[in-house]
Symmetry: D3
Subunit: 335 residues, 6 copies
């Protein structure tokens, strides 16, 4: 795998995820599987496996759990040299994997994590952004703390300064803040965004667009209002916790609405599906900024593959994603 | 969870279940997963999680396996103070979990268990039943031994004496006794029953009703003959060992036949489905003795949820069962 | 299980298979499940469970891994007294189990294994074949090495000499040799074959039959050209890595094409499906050499059951396979 | 096991402990074993297994982790009816088990737990203490938060009011607060204490006794100054993380210093050793308040047995502890 | 491994053993490790690995657990063709592995097993014994049931008839019968015995020898009274459940008492130590009936090696046992 | 951890190690634990954790196992940019962990690995060595193949050219080549070496020094003959597979023999002990090239700590090693 000559930056929190094995409920668990993940970190990891030079910005506690999170990033080829160590706690979350008619469940324990303590003074933004290609952020980082929010907005400013493409994923999390709180901050991010990952719900609820507009109208209005190049999104039909259908779409500056067809797929681990989608899209746009339809499809395929493996991250190569697009998984074991 | 002010009694055997992990066959197994369960014990556990004060009557051996069975009951909130310790062996059974076209398998090792040694003299029936709300029994306890049968019938008498509602689940087990043996004892139980869990097969085979009657006619006749308030049951369409459909129904004193619609669902662990159904029905009837249709639906939902988790028991709360009824599992992970 | 009075010989390689647990990818694995298998060895094991006296011919290294492979064969009732010990390495392979849209993957490490070192001088062919009933071989053994190839062809000659029925499974493996190499050797095997397991692809590619012929024409021509009694095969519709459909067919000396109906089934472990099919067919033909349709169906059922359990081998009894044919898995847990 | 007629109260925090299996380091762990424990909760559990009626006072979050902690207590026979549910986080800690020359390690994540939110208004002290026999507290609860401290001191007052015997274990934790902070609060507890678990270090550092006094002099002075009935303690010789020696001692109102002999023992899980010691001592004193030498020995034996099993708690019965005292583990498997 | 030309018969019960992993107590266990073992079966397995042709006589239930026990025997090279299938239950036992000062524990569930149903009519004694070399039995089989006892004594008679050497291991089990019951049956076995495995305790308690005789005197008297060739035994110093010392001894017809030196060793799994000792002794005596001192040492080494591995059986080869005797384990990993 | 400004190069093979869990024998194993390691790779990993910038030179196959080995190196902070991908097989080895009197065992499967295919043309030696600080090599790489040997000797030449310090560890492996073969190549390496890891045995056997010389004489002669700065080594007293003693020593240009005292320690995983020793010594010498006694002690401590954790590598920091030297493991869990 020869790395491209680009430099992709993402910023946010990486947490320890604790998952009861074998579809056990949290209150049945005698042990928890451990892996590491978090929205923007997952995007960096997938883009690294797709051949990009990725850097992750965060604050990690100077203890063994911080070391383990760091090792996860390194193992996946992330350059961790901008990460700061400090504060005392690694954010953790418990994931109960759903089965059939029983939905999954998440319990967060991240309110006082080291990542919530990151602040603008932790990062040398000029050094980080001056030769960067792309910057990706999500609404989760905005929700972490006011300091983290400042650090993120500072990053957006430097991205602008150095003409770095910016993608932003709404990723609204009701367990982290209320819609009312979110409504104050998302609008401030919009002016910096080139590529947006969002749904009509996000515009209606968080950006308070007119609720009665039809979806296409609404999304096209959003593109125009915020001078966004593209909005990508995906729709999910839930058949059960283990079988679902997805479709991706893109709205762009020529007002075109391009949905992919519906994919039916089986889910081994649902977490990180959105991050893998964003990663796939970003990867394709870095290759060809105008191939939006292909980007949507590549993102969707990356997302579906992600959901066939344990953990928060897609570690599939470009070739593997392309094979999936070509075969949709209808292939034999190769011997 | 605030417990209700009621007192629910169930009586029977609790066994150690040994299950090869990862869908292994028994003869492939290098280890067995351990959990504890048994028809009436499972009903007590589910009713405890649905907010009732539950007591279980049984005999457990005075060794570590008996202690472990006791701990399972305590952990699930069962009051174990009426349980007697004695004899020497905990019943065990081996469960081979089916997969796809390969059906599950059970090997019993319970013929000489402590529970088969329980007898009327083990229990202070007056104390147990004088302030009780509900008593639940199943045909399994009748099949254990003549002494256990006596203990069960004595319990039915005291339930009658203290005006306690009685539910009975046919649960005929061909591995424990023959139809001919069963035919002698089930009729003796009928006069005590308010709520019955049974299928047309049970009436035709065990109670020797006219085989050619159509199901509805037959069930209504049963209700009349035995002065039963309601008969509840469920029908199962087996697609494979891991995917099935179920429908619940109720026959009652106004001769009405009320089936629920068919639910398609995925099975993680099939054992205890009937007990969870009975628990759900009993819970709803304790709340509202006339809401039979809702009781059938609640029982069915509890049964389906049970089958999404490992073990013999449903540990779902009323709120979780209601959420399933509302969404039928079509929900996202909440974050 | 009373063994029949026959003597079935198979010859080939048995390997250690290393499988990441819980659908993990190879590069995620912290441990590997260990089991033993290989085409012809698997056929011997299944036929042993179907009641035949089976002998396996191979070379195993004189170390603990060789001992473990031997123990696997013994445990499954194979007579291992013709197996030679020598050379130094047991063939191994890594299997990544596919999930949903992600296909399975195999990495071989068998190029220099002890089995590739077996040669005609390792076996006392007269003793082995003089009272034998059936000999089964597959294309994998041809691909191992030139010495192994010689040992296999010698075996075919002795089978002929002693009038032993010969079955051969094409089993072309692109990871072991090229089509061009294969094209030299398969034709040499054909004259010895009574029962062949092959697909139209095999005839077109490996035996270089006319590509434009329609399948039935082609297969009938093959039967005629090589004086083969029957050709058996199966067709697979891949829905996903975990759900598929299969149909079996047989071509025979009366030019009849007899397909079974399509079976839809769930896959727990796909490896060994072809070997279980061959085993089921051979078993039935040993019982009744003319019941080809029943043989195809029995083979298919054995193959489907195999795919519901972990490992390379079917360990189902004749009774279990027949129960599957009768119910197609639509049965309740028996209690 | 017939429960005694007493009522033992303990108060504090119960946490989820996460332990890498098989002596792995935290940064090597792919999974964590889960169990529940905490100083005063552990004392309640051991006393329950020794035959006492135990109640635990704490605040648990209303989520699945809180439920699991509750189930742990119930399973071990604790009466949980005084426990309040509220706040949002269960305290957790990571334990790296030491091996040989590599010492164990703890990472806490408990600073903002539900237990730190408990306050005097959460408990109906009159109801709790009016018929109680014994109250046990440790310095850990003082360190949780100012509110928890208030709740604890209120409990001490009510214990006094209702003439309940009070035991207190210093359990100073440097990861929770500084010596300086501790120095303010421990003195306030002393007037309520009947039985103290403490070392000379505790008196010199936390209660600021004269550092140059010899240990016996110092401890006797402490007994006198604070009108304490007995001070119990144990000394540990560390040979390695897995092999150690311990001795227990008691100082009492007749100024006698009674050490047990040294026990050499092997350690499977070191956590909870002090709590098991306290439990054993308290158990013996409840039986016979004057048998201090026997109490010290019983406590030590309970502590050593605890260290042979996984988890934070001793679940040994009185009989098992007595057998250990009699044999010191020099016994054969009984068959 | 070339098998010798001998034929060794052993007779008894083989059970499923269920062991909590990782030194857990039975009441802590969420799973149990599964292996198969039983006194005389273990002797057959070890002798098979030492190069002998071994046959085991028992009755196994015709279910998957019986199949698994059979597979265990086959895997270890035992000829299972004399084993009968019948009755319904495989004996099981639960083993709690001791640690340090906490001794191991056994719970039996074997009272009604298939093995207790074996009877003289199950075996074709003439066929079995007419060409046999050695027959080994232990007191456990006598304790199973009166029918099993008859079958065993019949076997002894045929061994005598065909001049087969007989070894007998006292193996008195207090959980199976009382000393009083045992006293009736052991004397009947003595006249058939050539080689006895017993301790002075056995003679004093079971055979009611004079209790005040000194050990050497007593053992020599026993040799004389019963016309036994040799009595072998071992003495165990228990340091802890995991560290012990053993010494073997032999008494023979020249009244010589030959003890080996004391071996200090670490225990991974204590079960089967006595069977491995007997196996080692028998192996050596088959090679050289007069080399009693070497036999004692070889038996002891085999016993110590057994205790370093999981399960009931020693699977060590003659070479491995000899290497242990030569080095006593003081060797480096060979690379 | 701030990395130093140095550049450390090591060269060799990294393999997949497969270890039966829980002290199982290879032929008992149902699964194998997976980790990655190899002499020089282990040195790079430990030096990375001790704060150095480490680069590893090898050839890895372009498949998932190669990716996993690479991820292991990256995770541990190794710069992998000089590693070449090619050939087809990752070397593997099976490790049976010894217990008590049963020694460990290794089965190699590495003869045809990708690492044996590395050759001088795979590396840009000028770029690699021009700014390097230290180069470490061991005899294992010499034994891989003639091409690997050439690549290694080329590396030594470039190290010389750029004045890079060279350390060499004899690491003679009898499973890879004979003493006779080794005797040809080790002498060619000597002229390049500054720091040597070797024992008197190595000089007598491989370099054919006079066998009768006493050790000190011999080692001092070796220092002189080859113009080596220091020879480091360690001596091991084997008590059992799990308990041992070690002592380190150094011979230097002032002819001084400086042994450390003997350390008694417990072994969790013996593999990599020598590599951790070399790493510790090299680390200290990079800090202070004259502090040989401290280097020996630091190496020994690093080696002992390594043996308390699973896997081939020491991941301890300088601080952790220093703490061990200060306390020798006699410390409490810090809470």
């Amino acid at each position: 795998m020869n790395k491209r000559k680009d430099k992709v930056i993402t910023m946010g929190e990486i947490m320890l995820r604790l998952t009861p094995p074998d579809y056990a409920k949290i209150d049945q668990a005698h042990s928890f599987l451990a892996n590491y993940g978090g929205g923007e970190a997952n995007v960096a990891v997938s883009l690294s496996h797709l051949g990009h030079n990725c850097f992750f910005l965060t604050k990690l506690p100077p203890n063994d759990l911080g070391d383990a999170a760091l090792a996860h990033l390194k193992k996946n080829g992330i350059d961790t040299s901008y990460i700061v160590r400090g504060s005392s706690t690694l954010g953790t979350y418990f994931l109960e994997t759903g089965f059939g008619g029983r939905p999954g469940k998440v319990i967060y324990n991240r309110k006082h994590s080291a990542a919530t303590r990151m602040s603008p003074s932790d990062f040398d933004y000029d050094k980080i952004f001056k030769d960067a290609t792309w910057f990706h952020l999500s609404g989760i980082t905005l929700a972490l703390s006011s300091k983290a929010r400042e650090a993120a907005i500072e990053a957006l400013k430097y991205a602008k300064k150095y003409n770095v493409k910016v993608s932003f994923d709404f990723n609204y999390r009701s367990r982290l803040w209320t819609v009312e709180e979110a409504q104050k901050w998302y609008p401030l991010v919009m002016p910096y965004v080139n590529v947006l990952f969002a749904s009509p719900w996000d515009f209606r609820k968080i950006l308070q667009f007119n609720k009665s507009d039809d979806d296409v109208e609404l999304m096209n209005k959003a593109v125009e209002d915020y001078h966004i190049d593209y909005i990508f999104g995906k729709t999910r039909h839930i058949i059960s916790a283990t079988e679902q259908e997805m479709q991706a779409y893109v709205y762009g500056n020529c007002k075109e609405f391009k949905p992919t067809h519906w994919f039916k797929f089986q889910i081994f681990d649902r977490i990180g599906a959105g991050d893998a989608f964003a990663s796939g899209v970003i990867h394709y746009l870095i290759k060809d900024y105008h191939a939006t339809r292909e980007a949507a499809e590549f993102g969707l395929a990356n997302s579906i593959l992600k959901q066939t493996i344990f953990g928060d991250v897609s570690t599939f190569s470009e070739k593997e994603v392309e094979e999936y697009i070509a075969t949709q998984g209808i292939t034999e074991v190769k011997r």
